[in-house]
């Protein structure tokens, strides 16, 4: 048993647990987007950021990947953490203003659409990678992958060809938090 504190409350967990695991066990709220119990943590959305004092320094880390250590002090609602989360909500809302779960997220942070609009393809995909990871880790095939990089990064199938590995199980459609997979699926799935 490893004991440490979250927001001053003494908590504990087993070796191999993350801060998020322990927080959820104790009913402490931390927002997430790219996290899913059935898959390995990925660390893309950064929404689950918390501030950790490990005795040497205090820094912002992501709770879904940070392994718990004896005696660390975790704070889930500091000004630095709030600033990171607010900006993520703002940026996501401006990228995909129509997606219901993004609207909900933005609302919880009191964020409204800014004057900056996304240009180019209208898609509510925010590259959380749940579809790709579900395909690989849960279904066990590699019909989906990331393509390109930076602002051009996209969810696609290997070599941009409709995948022959796809079994049309629909898991990707099911896990997609924004519904963007509805648009992508016909382009990547097997015929």
């Amino acid at each position: 048993m490893i004991t440490f504190s979250i927001n001053g409350q003494e908590v504990g967990g087993e070796e191999g647990w993350t801060v998020l695991d322990v927080a959820r066990w104790h009913g402490i709220e931390i927002p997430t987007l790219c996290h899913h119990e059935a898959m390995e943590p990925f660390g893309a959305c950064r929404l689950c950021a918390v501030e950790v004092d490990d005795g040497r320094r205090t820094r912002v880390v992501i709770s879904c990947m940070y392994p718990i250590r004896e005696g660390i002090k975790v704070q889930t609602e500091t000004p630095r953490v709030a600033n990171v989360r607010r900006w993520i909500a703002q940026l996501l809302l401006d990228e995909s203003p129509q997606a219901p779960n993004i609207q909900e997220l933005a609302k919880s942070f009191g964020v409204t659409p800014s004057r900056f609009k996304k240009t180019g393809v209208e898609s509510a995909c925010h590259l959380c990678g749940l579809c790709i990871r579900a395909c690989q880790e849960v279904v066990g095939v590699q019909a989906l992958t990331f393509g390109n990089r930076g602002v051009l990064k996209e969810v696609t199938s290997p070599y941009h060809r409709r995948s022959q590995d796809c079994i049309r199980c629909g898991t990707c459609l099911y896990v997609c938090p924004t519904g963007a997979m509805e648009q992508i699926f016909p382009l990547v799935s097997s015929e």
Partner: protein
Amino acid sequence: MQITSIDDLQKAKVGGLAQLYPPKPKILVGMATCGLAAGAQRVYDLLHKKAQQEHWEGVVEKTGCIGICYQEPLVDLIIPGKPRVTYAEMSPEKAEALWEELAAGRVPEKQVLARMDVDGMILDGGPRKLYQGKLKGFLAKVPRYEDLDFFKLQRHIAMRNCGFIDPDNLLQYIARGGYFALYTALTTMTPDQVIQAVTTAGLRGRGGGGFPTGVKWASCRKAKGWPKYVLCNADEGDPGAYMDRSLIEGDPHSILEGMLIGAYAIGSSEGYIYVRAEYPLAVKTLQRAILAAREAGLLGTNILGSGFSFDLKLNLGGGAFVCGESTALMASIEGKPGEPRAKYVHTADKGLWNRPSNLNNVETWANVPVIIAKGADWYRDIGTEGSKGTKIFSLVGQVKNVGLVEVPMGVSIKQMVQDIGGGVPEDREFKALQIGGPSGGCIPREQWDLPIDFDSLWDAGAMMGSGGMIVMDNSTCMVDVAKFFLDFLIDESCGKCIPCRLGLKRMRELLEEFSSGKGSLEDLEELQSLSEAVKDGSLCALGGSAPNPVLTTLRYFREEYEAHILHHKCPAAVCKELITYTITPELCNGCTACVQECPQGAITGTKKEPHTLNSALCIKCGACFEVCKFGAVAVA
């Protein structure tokens, strides 16, 4: 030649020395990428052909870059019993003239840059005087290397062999003390003693982070798991920075020897060098060095009869800047997309293929043999309290002397720009030094007494980075600078995490508004808070440090941002939407040069009459400003 014992090493050294300083004249041509870009290949070919045709007694060889890149191509003449003489800015024609002089038995006098009386040879018992007695005549008047402003403050430790040896020649490397440090480590020190020496020496990572190298090695040695990997980061990607490339091209074996010593200390028998594919000469040089070392038995099993075994492979990078980040680099070697992962579990424990791995930068590795050969105390005498040794910088931008500079830590920005760099061009003023690569910071003139070391730079909001240094004068707009570096980082972001992928883009959008006179002071606060969010929230060091150019320019040049926002003015007259070109009638003598140059037909006027500029047609290209010899075109 097999080198399996100290006797072999000594023999190789004797052979190498006979090549370094042969009893006959020798011509050296600087053929690193900087030399080649300036035309060194044609100079070399000409001299080589002449020497063959005329059955010259001497030899013509290539060497790496000694650092003074703005004077390339360089040709050196080494005549027994005379100082080494360096000739600068050579061309095939000038080389031919040089050859004529040489063939006539004279020491050529044209194009001379400097002479070298003493070869430092720091690893091999110290200075070697190249001639005896007193110099007379022409040679006495040639300035010595250490008299040149560019070299006065320099001290070459990592670059110890660059510009001295043929990088493809293992014997010449050994002749200058190479691989003796490896022998010392393998035969007289335990791995822990090696780590202790590197720790005591105070060596910190030269790739950017400045993490204590000894501590890194110790944690990898302690880590459980097998095999362990020793890696070299040669994925140098900062715009304008080429320290690692020059080191590889000039002295590849120093990196190999450093890695061998590191591998012995850590307990590793396998390694990789991750080098950019865009560095074709560096790749070839490394390939040849690895082959030569393997052939000599310096890579492989039972090295120097010690029982220690190590070998390494080259891995070519595919052109992604982010692959210089340790976890992305390892993913790339594994054949996966070059994306970073969280480092809450250190790569010393779980790195390449989830095995304990130790990654150091090219320059860090090149320093290791020196620490073993000269001792930790010798090394820690150089530099400042927290930053020991020397650091190589590539000094570029609006400065007279451009090149690679290796100085002891703690040299001030002023010394760097004024003394070594020769200052900014006459009619301009020094404004800021951008240091640390695209995610470094801009340090203003007010702080130019700042000593350049890891901690001072960090406190000033910049970072050492890999050592890129861009000098900026008052014709540079700091908002524009922030835009430039953000553009680079947006292009190079892997796109995995939201703060970096979308945050940088939004920062860029805000800057675009400022540079076109839009935006408000509240937006400036937004930019500040977004920068903090990207810094805190990003997955890897690329995103974590990407806001630095914005944060430091906001910190030191806030009034320049405010001038854009509040007064719709760009003080440096760079941001096109905020400047206007006008013609001052009193200064215009009606030469019509601008009329002919203007691509828009925006300037009208007849000969000998002051011209007029129609600002409605003007696209602010600046062509009139450039062409006017009378200062009649004003920009504000």
